[in-house]
């Protein structure tokens, strides 16, 4: 049996076979032989998750747009599929032309979440690509990765040949050209990696030596050749209006997590919330023009037939002409029966007017993210939102006929006390009472308030990158306090066991030595860690022990100012001095203004003409 026959046989036995079969609208297969460069885009999670991801759609379109390069998709199979593949001796195949990963010139992983790392190892091995970079030979693909987790590439240094840091739109084509050149000129793998290292925003970890102090902290990181830069500067796309955005995107047959058109209205955020890694990494804020967005929306609607458009960004409420944009989109989409949704509403930025316009088409639940239960702690994390703001918005929503509110919080934030946790309960109670203040005949029936608390994970390139995560025991105790505080009629409380957050904290701020732990855990069968049914915490702890490393060193340890952090040789745009200053302010519960009120000198001002708010004169 050939691979295709094997696959067809297996598909009869697995759950959710459409995950693996392809043939979706807008995924027409390009001629393999007509394209000299073959790129395998790998999403290290299931099809449903991967096909909801905007970055996949951007890069898929961008690579396939070029006559000389072709892009096909790979996803992480579910466990039943993996078992069947092993039994039949079937390698991991691309969705489009059903070729094994080893047939591709470049294999690129997107790193959205630390807990998908074991899936990368699994996908490489199943795809017939040596898991360790050092084992790869001249005929093996070059394995690359990008995305937010690439900013701390170190835990994946053993497995990924080259990382792309920052916005991917420009560097993607440059990287593919270098790899195509290698193919055409017959350059060696080593020569190719050195050439890649010369590209701005590309980091080749094998070209650096890392030394450690006896206590496990880093002593030094040293480039090994002239092509390897001492500091790797991230890529920044200056103008989103000139930057590629797909005008047709794949339309899955089955329902995926975000099954709609995602219109990225802007990138970046000016708020400066101190816990938020995305808010730091995607700086500066860059808007797409209204004309461009309307043009894209109309083209995407025609090309997909989707019934829903969501405006996507870190803080859509901050888009400078949001009411105009929504009004214009609604006007044009009404006859086409397309609804417009705003997924990440910030509580202090949505106009009542646009709320009313949203509900004209469809009423969904409203989401607010106060993140912390007291004003003091919200000041610590620089979440510039007050209780009055929140309650006013909630009242507007209830008066406007909404009945469902979701509130997102974190537990384990730096300086948090039990009083802050009790504050979450108080806030929830006040939200409920706002509902009952609306006269019965003027409010929608069936109040639903959902409070979700996630465990705080300190991330690199945030002011909390030096902070300790609470221990698992402490988080569990705090969750008990929260359960008690949120025993309120009309309120549902959601929380998760802290084990996954603990491991996430290890890998988020891990160093190169964690590669061994990851490899060991994978050998023990750890895969699909982000899914509760497959997550095996004990096996991970065994892997740490067997590698002689202490997870608490990574998760629960306070770092000092002078410590060399594993990601210090990556330049995210934000300076370490700015982050340290922010950390010190947070300890005194001092807030930092929104960039739109004046430049705070985060470091992006070093890029000329990139940040509209950077005031050249002062820092």
């Amino acid at each position: 049996m050939n691979n295709n026959e094997k696959l067809e046989k297996i598909l009869e036995k697995v759950q959710k076979a459409p995950r693996y079969t392809g043939g979706e609208m807008n995924t027409d297969i390009k001629g393999w032989d007509e394209c000299p460069l073959h790129f395998g885009f790998c999403f290290p999670d299931t099809y449903e998750v991967g096909m909801s991801h905007l970055g996949l759609k951007i890069l898929y379109g961008l690579i396939n747009r070029e006559a000389w390069s072709l892009c096909e998709r790979f996803f992480m199979p579910w466990t039943d599929m993996i078992e069947q593949m092993k039994e039949e001796g079937l390698p991991l195949l691309s969705i489009e032309s059903r070729r094994p990963m080893s047939d591709f010139d470049v294999v690129g992983f997107t790193l959205q979440y630390e807990m998908s790392y074991s899936n990368i190892l699994a996908m490489l091995e199943m795809g017939g690509v040596p898991v360790l970079g050092s084992d790869r030979g001249e005929t093996d693909p070059i394995v690359v990765a990008g995305g937010p987790c690439a900013y701390n590439p170190e835990p994946l240094a053993d497995f990924i040949d080259a990382f792309m840091i920052g916005d991917g739109e420009d560097v993607m084509g440059e990287l593919n050209r270098v790899i195509l050149e290698r193919k055409e000129k017959g350059l060696s793998r080593a020569e190719c990696l050195r050439a890649l290292s010369e590209l701005e925003g590309v980091y080749v970890p094998s070209l650096y030596d890392v030394e450690y102090l006896p206590d496990g902290r880093i002593a030094s990181v040293t480039p090994r050749c002239p092509e390897a830069k001492a500091s790797v500067k991230r890529r920044v796309v200056v103008d989103l209006n000139d930057t590629y955005y797909p005008e047709e995107i794949p339309v899955p047959y089955t329902e995926v997590v975000f099954d709609r058109i995602m219109l990225e209205i802007m990138r970046g955020c000016t708020r400066g919330c101190r816990f938020c890694q995305a808010g730091m990494l995607y700086r500066p804020v860059r808007e797409r023009s209204m004309e461009k967005l309307i043009d894209l929306a109309e083209k995407l609607e025609k090309a997909t037939g989707y019934e829903e458009i969501s405006l996507s960004s870190l803080s859509s409420g901050d888009y400078s002409c949001l009411p105009e944009l929504i009004r214009e989109l609604m006007r044009r989409m009404k006859d086409k029966r397309v609804s417009i949704s705003l997924p990440s509403l910030r509580i202090d930025s949505v106009l009542k007017e646009s709320l009313e316009e949203t509900q004209q088409v469809r009423k969904t639940s409203l989401t607010f993210a106060p993140e912390a239960g007291t004003q003091r702690l919200r000041d610590v994390i620089n979440k510039g939102v007050t209780e009055e703001d929140l309650l006013e918005k909630v009242r507007d929503a209830f008066e406007g006929g909404w009945n469902s509110v979701k509130l997102y919080f974190m537990d384990g934030l730096p300086t948090e006390t039990d009083a802050d946790l009790e504050g979450i309960g108080d806030l929830a109670r006040k939200v409920v009472s706002e509902y009952f203040k609306v006269p019965k005949d003027q409010r929608a029936r069936g109040l639903r308030v959902t409070v979700s608390a996630s465990t705080f994970v300190p991330k690199p390139f945030t002011p909390f990158q030096w902070a300790a995560q609470d221990t698992i025991d402490e988080i569990q105790r705090k969750q008990g306090v929260l359960r008690h505080a949120l025993n309120v009629k009309g309120v549902t409380f959601n929380w998760h066991e802290p084990y996954l957050s603990f491991l996430e904290a290890c890998f988020a701020r891990g160093d190169r030595r964690l590669g061994k732990v990851l490899h060991q855990a994978y050998r023990k069968g750890c895969i699909l860690d982000g899914w509760s049914e497959t997550f095996r915490f004990d096996a991970w702890m065994d892997a740490f022990r067997e590698c002689g490393l202490d997870p608490a060193f990574y998760a629960n340890r306070v770092r000092e100012k002078d410590e060399i952090l594993p990601w210090d040789h990556i330049d995210s745009g934000i300076t370490k001095q700015f982050l340290w200053h922010e950390k010190e302010k947070s300890e005194q519960a001092l807030t930092t203004r929104d960039c739109r009120q004046g430049c705070n000198g985060c470091g992006l001002q070093r890029w000329k003409g990139v940040c509209a708010y950077a005031d050249a004169g002062r820092v």
Binding site: K9, E12, P18, T21, G23, Y253, K302, E307
Partner: protein, 224 residues
Amino acid sequence: MRMLAVFEKSERIRHIGHLDIQRAVQRGLRRSGLPVAYSQGFNPHILVTFASALSTGACGKREIMDVTMAEDVSAAEFIERMNRAMPGEMQISEARAVDGKHPSLPGLLRAARYDLLIRDPAQAEKLISAIPSMMARKTVPAMRKTKTAMKETDIRPLILSIRGEGHHIQATLTLTEREACKPGMLMEALAREAGIQEEIRVLARREALLGQDEDGRMIPLEQL
């Protein structure tokens, strides 16, 4: 005006369920920009129905959709615009405009013709040689899945014709709103007749949906 359009559900996408196929057609109609009619009410949807739901795992050569149009369009234009708007796996081969009074397709449906490819040649031979003895029986029981339980049904009167050739079995089976013999039920009965215990891997392809003309002859549903 309504358009009856014959479309394919290819082998590649045979694991897509009927609800997802319906949604793919709805989105294809939206992409095509054809003047389709929408339902009234709070959540308007395109008025499109299907002659018969095809099981998950089966592919279909001549499935039929019934689209209510808001304005008249020619069959040729319908085909041309839909084929640009539909994935390669779901192309339209024929279309026919009928007036609004045309009876609904599920009510006209009488039977379906299937091609069943038996993947294992040895099994195929055994199954095919068991056809005559099974057909000689007065009754042939098979389990039918109802909404709530499994129910035993006599499928003998529902097998309108059956023959085997090579690794294929061709069968015309009753398919109406009231009763149906699904390919799986036929295979279950035939396997019992052939004394095969093991799982049988079959690729089921529905080749035609059939109705009855005035003379009682089975003809393709879309021609009625």
